[in-house]
């Protein structure tokens, strides 16, 4: 009988990524509803000390798979190990992150285990002892609520920046377990030859707390400077709509929308973006949306918590000055 909730964390260069705390916190909430234990899983190289802090976010047990070959994520190694761990203990719920790494990892693991999986979920619940997940489909034009049909573990990934993180409680402790696994070098069919850091040095859009995005209304690549100035003052990353990317004003990795990135920041400021369905698809789960647009009829205003009707070339620099007072 499958038992227990597992939250699979994500590390890079020896530090946990934010999604890890979100997963452990959400795992805690689900484990409480089920009346079961929460296990956090850590895969990496020399992560044992760092792993201990997960107890503060609610983990009862922490399984650490530690191996010099695991410092950098590879699909082959991580799926092989996770497959072995899951088969040995048969957890009931397996939560992972819908980050770039987590999507690759979970998709292959679902295939390996032959189980159902719900990708990029925005809410979880327990009904009749089973996991229920809510996820946007058709790029957020609809949502589906899904459950699992005699399929264990019940696997799902959580959209980054959606699940709230519990306040760390230093009084909590957890059992630390060394993962038992075998990893044959012959099973490793891919290798990471190089990791090239993005030159911008900004937080990636999918993890950013605040995003300032520009669209066709920016009129040209040089004008994104005013968005970058505002972003610098409030600590935001800069995104773009499809039209701005297709015009060659911004790189592909900056595109927010149905054929770009799906983001979920606390603050999303859309400047000169009309709000085409394809763009709304990528940002509609943002917590607070601000729209700045000359056209009072632009569809983006229907999604906005705060709308400013005006010329962005006047409003944005004025906003940059106005926010300085609070920083």
């Amino acid at each position: 009988m499958a038992q227990g909730v597992w939250a699979v964390t994500e590390q890079r260069d020896g530090a946990f990524r934010k999604i890890s705390y979100e997963l452990v916190s959400e795992g805690r909430r689900l484990a409480d509803k089920l009346g079961q234990k929460l296990t956090a899983v850590v895969i990496g190289a020399s992560m044992k000390e760092k792993a201990k802090e997960l107890s503060q976010y609610g983990a009862d047990r922490i399984i650490v798979a530690d191996d010099p070959r695991l410092g950098q994520y590879t699909t082959d190694a991580y799926v092989e190990i996770m497959g072995q761990l899951v088969k040995a203990e048969e957890p009931s719920v397996l939560l992972m992150g819908a980050s770039v790494q987590g999507k690759d990892f979970s998709a292959r693991l679902a295939g390996r285990l032959g189980v159902g999986m719900a990708q990029d979920c925005t809410a979880f619940d327990i009904e009749n002892g089973g996991l229920i997940a809510t996820r946007p489909v058709y790029a957020g034009k609809a949502y589906t609520t899904v459950g699992f049909e005699n399929s264990f573990p019940q696997m799902a990934t959580a959209r980054p920046n959606v699940m709230s993180v519990l306040a760390p409680d230093a009084g909590r402790s957890a059992e630390l377990v060394d993962a038992q696994f075998t990893l044959d070098d012959a099973a490793l069919k891919t290798k990471v030859a190089e990791a090239i850091k993005d030159a911008s040095g900004k937080v990636d859009l999918t993890e950013a707390d605040k995003i300032i995005s520009g669209g066709r209304g920016m009129k040209g690549p040089e004008n994104f400077k005013i968005l970058e100035d505002l972003a610098d003052v409030i600590g935001a990353s800069v995104g773009a709509s499809r039209s701005a990317v297709d015009a060659g004003w911004r790189p592909h990795r900056d595109q927010v929308g149905q054929t770009g990135k799906v983001v979920s920041p606390n603050l999303y400021v859309a400047c000169g973006i009309s709000g085409a369905i394809q763009h709304l698809a990528g940002m509609s789960t943002s917590k607070v949306i601000v729209a700045v647009n000359k056209d009072a009829e632009a569809p983006i205003f229907q999604k906005a918590d705060y709308g400013v009707v005006g010329d962005l070339f006047d409003v944005v620099p004025a906003l940059t000055e106005a926010v300085k007072k609070y920083m």
Partner: protein, 264 residues
């Protein structure tokens, strides 16, 4: 080089999604069906590799008869052969069931590289490619924005952006690669291409041709069950920030973001 491209047919991005009575399906009557945009990058990349290394490109689609149109589009772009997997008993398959059907067909073919889109823009699961790779026991590299096959045609280097960095991943062929925007600019089918496509082979396969247990696929084989489909949650009514001048509006917005939203 033998290249396979898996493609899905999905509602066009402009489609308004309407939920059917009962709340378990969407209304499909007025939908304009197109090739999944992410799959177009796979077709294009396959054609470029064929132009460089020779060989052929086989396109495999699954679904009702209308999927033939998307396969023909790929043939018109330059692919050599199409396979449609179509059977009422396969309808309603989840990602894993779909992967099983596609992998069953692929097992009977020769291949060096398989392309799939990184995800279908309908269900947004992004599972099928990885599940096919696992069923075939070959490596996968997801979210490619650049790929370079070695001159000897035996290995590939793929650039895949992950948050804040780009990883350059090396893999031996055969490999499955999932494609995304930035990899290339898919070509349009030319008129002669469209004419030629009509004469290219397009084979149809049913469930009985796949050697699969019918209980593993289709609605009955679903491991993930849809409980309900709902419209997106409504957002609270927003407010238009008032002010005489752009400066006034900006000052008021800053105040609201600080005092009300508590974000700055």
């Amino acid at each position: 080089m033998k290249i396979i491209v898996c493609l899905k047919q999905v509602p066009d991005t402009e489609t308004q999604i309407k939920i059917a009575p009962g709340g378990e399906k969407i209304v499909t009557d007025d939908i304009k069906w197109v090739m999944n945009p992410y799959d177009e990058f796979g077709v294009e990349e396959a054609l470029r590799l064929k132009e460089k290394f020779g060989g052929d490109v086989t396109v495999i689609g699954m679904g009702p008869k209308r999927v033939t149109e998307s396969i023909r589009t790929a043939l018109a772009m330059g692919a050599d052969k199409g396979i449609l997997i179509s059977d009422a008993a396969l309808e309603g398959s989840d990602s894993l069931g779909t992967a099983k059907a596609l992998a069953a067909v692929i097992k009977g073919l020769q291949f060096d590289i398989i392309f799939t889109g990184q995800r279908g823009i309908d269900e947004d699961q992004g599972l099928t490619g990885a599940c096919i790779a696992d069923l075939l026991g070959i490596p996968q590299v997801s979210l490619a924005v650049k790929l370079e096959v070695a001159a000897d045609g035996k290995s590939v280097k793929v650039n895949r952006p992950v948050e804040g960095q780009t990883l350059v991943v090396e893999a031996q062929l055969p490999v499955l690669i999932t494609t995304q925007k930035g990899l290339n600019e898919p070509r349009y089918a030319s008129l002669p291409g469209i004419m030629k496509a009509k004469k290219k082979p397009l084979e149809e396969k049913a469930l009985k041709d796949l050697g699969l247990d019918p209980a593993e696929v289709g609605l009955g084989g679903r491991k993930l069950k849809i409980i309900k489909i709902t419209p997106p949650p409504a957002r609270a009514e927003g407010k238009i920030v008032q002010g005489e001048t752009p400066q006034d509006k900006a000052t008021e917005l800053a105040r609201l973001l600080h005092e009300e939203a508590k974000l700055i």
